[in-house]
């Protein structure tokens, strides 16, 4: 399956990646080759087969709905690139 540069650009937007035009060209070629290789799955008839999302899990992933201690704000914020008080700081969204 041949991916166009426009499709690569669209996927990059979905993935929140700002690619250079050189990267867009390269990924169009490389992803097309990978999608060609994985197309072999289409030859298999999987009607009636249940999907496996976890190989060995038999039980629910949900834990009990009880409160537990969490990291204190100073630890949570210790690695923040920018912060204000006890909040993470980001560039403004609205003018």
């Amino acid at each position: 399956m041949k991916l166009t540069v426009e499709q690569v650009r669209h996927v990059a937007t979905l993935a929140r990646l700002s690619l250079t035009s050189e990267e867009e060209e390269r990924y169009a070629t490389q992803l097309s080759a990978i999608l060609d290789a994985v197309a072999q799955l289409q030859e298999l008839d999987v009607s009636g087969v249940e999907p496996t999302s976890h190989a060995t899990l038999a039980s629910s992933l949900l834990r009990e709905d009880v409160t537990r201690p969490s990291l204190p704000p100073e630890k949570s914020l210790a690695n923040a690139p920018a912060k204000v008080g006890t909040s993470f700081s980001v560039p403004k969204i609205l003018e």
Partner: protein, 486 residues
Amino acid sequence: MQLTDLTLLELAAKLASGEVTSVEATQACLARISQVDGKVKAFLRLDEHGALAAAEASDARRKSGNPHGPLDGVPVAVKDIFLTEGVETTCASHILKGFVPPYDATTVRLLKEAGMPILGKLNQDEFAMGSSNESSAYGPCHNPWDVTRTPGGSSGGSAAALAAREVFGTLGTDTGGSIRQPAALTNTVGLKPTYGRVSRYGVISYASSLDAPGPMARTVGDVAALLKVLARHDPLDSTSAPADVPDYLADLEQGVAGLKLGVPREYFVEGMDPEVEAAVRSALKEYERLGATLVDVSLPHTKYALATYYLLAPAEASSNLARYDGVRYGHRTREAKGLKDMYGMTRDEGFGPEVKRRIMLGTYALSAGYYDAYYLKAQKVRTLIREDFTKAFTQVDALVTPTSPVPAFKLGEKVNDPLSMYLMDVCTLPCNLAGLPGLSLPCGFTKAGLPIGLQLMGRPFDEAKLLRIGRAFEREHEFTRRLAPI
């Protein structure tokens, strides 16, 4: 013989008898690292102060007759994917440069509780995406058997540090073969435990349904001893299994007489190196001589495993790596004017080419219009692959295959050809898709002196049997005794 030439269990015995102190062992490792790591590049960073402080505390416990366990005082190191409180953890990525975790991964906590000094953080492929350690943002790791070659990946640093005798045991993670393939390429032993056997809490996620942390060391016994420390149910990881944990050292010497070992014909793939195939076939004969019965088995969906893996793993990665947006930790671009720009530019600057490639592939496979054809289809094929294994294990106790189809290749040889690189995992990744345990151990050398690995795969939570089968072969050979020429 130098102190660092000892195996993990040999050092543990010397610590127990008082012949050696933990401080001496830790200093010997630091001296060895200083001597050889300039060539190997296994360590991304050392925690000399923390390791020596832990060693001194261990010696004090020994002196007062209260060691924390048989491995108290044995120095180890961990892949940079494991969170280490107070010690920078980058997952070999620029996007996490400067990140200092506020807590330890459960596995790291368990090593510390066992009294083991942690020497530092080991090189790896960026976010564990790669099979040669060349996608590390901090430069490749080199194979101690030939420094022009790769040690494999993604746990390349964990394997190379062992082969170079810089440390006695390491932790790696295995999403598609990242413990076993580097073990095979460096003449070391690596175990991918059953999914859920070892906690993933505090291990930076790549593909959550496949990731398995596990022990690496120089012998099967050493790996068994480390697994004993690591295997337990962890309430902090909702996918951790509340399964019984046996004593992995108890039955280690029981041999293979009476066991049935399956030889899946699909694993002797076209393009396999003839010397690798010869060594594996010779190991199979050896198992027969030791009293096991070889059974020809078929896993017919094996040929679809690579495609299945390279849809599922990138899909999960694209979701997991969405958290690196420059808001809470790690790198943030200085160029962006607004929030949306900040996300895109931060991620473009922070991630390397292989990580971006997999994020793009995963995002595409999950996007509207393609989800059913790619992601859902791959999940259904995963079911067929699992069923193949379930069927095979009604006939046999374990499966025996090559670990890697080729020995260590030259650095740079495959780096521009993603598909060729992905083929390096062809023998290991079905095990991850099925969630099974897999062990790689040395089984020979090529004429050029490069290590060859043998892979054993078992039923879920049957690590003890795999270790026993591995040990039976190891006992008959000197492979694990051979030291890398560095």
